[in-house]
Amino acid sequence: MFLITASLLIGSPEFPQRLVGKEREEQRVMFLINLPLGGPVDPADGNLTGTGQAPKSRSYVWSCYCRASSQRRMSPYVDCYAQRSYPMPDEPFCTELTEEQRALKEKEKGSWAQLSQAEKVALYRLQFHETFAEMNHRSNEWKTVMGCVFFFIGFTALVIWWQRVYVFPEKVITLTEERKAQQLQRLLDMKSNPIQGLAAHWDYEKKEWKK
């Protein structure tokens, strides 16, 4: 933990030693945060309302530490990630700030007109994990889901086929063709549903189904 904080303050994303357990988890978080996804953008393409693609360049790396693992609270409070249904999480995304970041936060307390575009973007990135565009972007998960659904349906079909061969008992005698014909004849004799149903489609003079 100390090692990570130390490397944070130096500003380097290197992790010289393999950690274990909780610290390893934090190390992973740090690594992910420091990917290009996590940084603010150049003033040149500082447009946060873009297409949801990750910013292509970064002028400086923010090392943000997500405190999710240390809290025992329920989502969405604990994920540090806003969702469409909960767009303003209680806590900012970056809670441990470097000197630069703290200075920026101080500057934020003044008039916002004095902030440059890059600074505004940086403040946004401090506060939020992703932009709305990034948060809402589609994924291809549905393909995986549908694939698995069809796969298991197919597997079930094979299981039922096996059961048909090896498990099911003999068919009842009343299901033979002869017996079924006798049952149908009896229904027609009774004139069951003679108005819109079965007997309505039978021609009693010609003794055949109506065309």
């Binding site: 447009n47 004799d189 819109q196 009693y204």
Partner: protein, 75 residues
């Protein structure tokens, strides 16, 4: 302020706008389905029953059934 590249989105009245569209649609759907059922199912059925019973002779029907042998109490 930022050099706004996007027009300001609709901020108010979103629910009202949605409701206006959907209430009309709901009415149309409901009335349409009801009308379709009435004229597709209910009226033909009433006509079929009326036609059937216009020329229905219950005794003749009974005799046919009796000859077919389905009754236990009237052979």
């Amino acid at each position: 302020m930022s050099s706004g590249t996007l027009p300001k989105p609709q901020m108010r009245g979103l629910l009202a706008k949605r409701l206006r569209v959907h209430i009309v649609g709901a009415f149309v759907m409901a009335l349409g389905v009801a009308a379709a059922y009435k004229f597709g199912v209910a009226e033909p059925r009433k006509k079929a029953y009326a036609d059937f019973y216009r020329k229905y002779d219950s005794m003749k029907d009974f005799e046919e059934m009796r000859k077919a042998g389905i009754f236990q109490s009237a052979k």
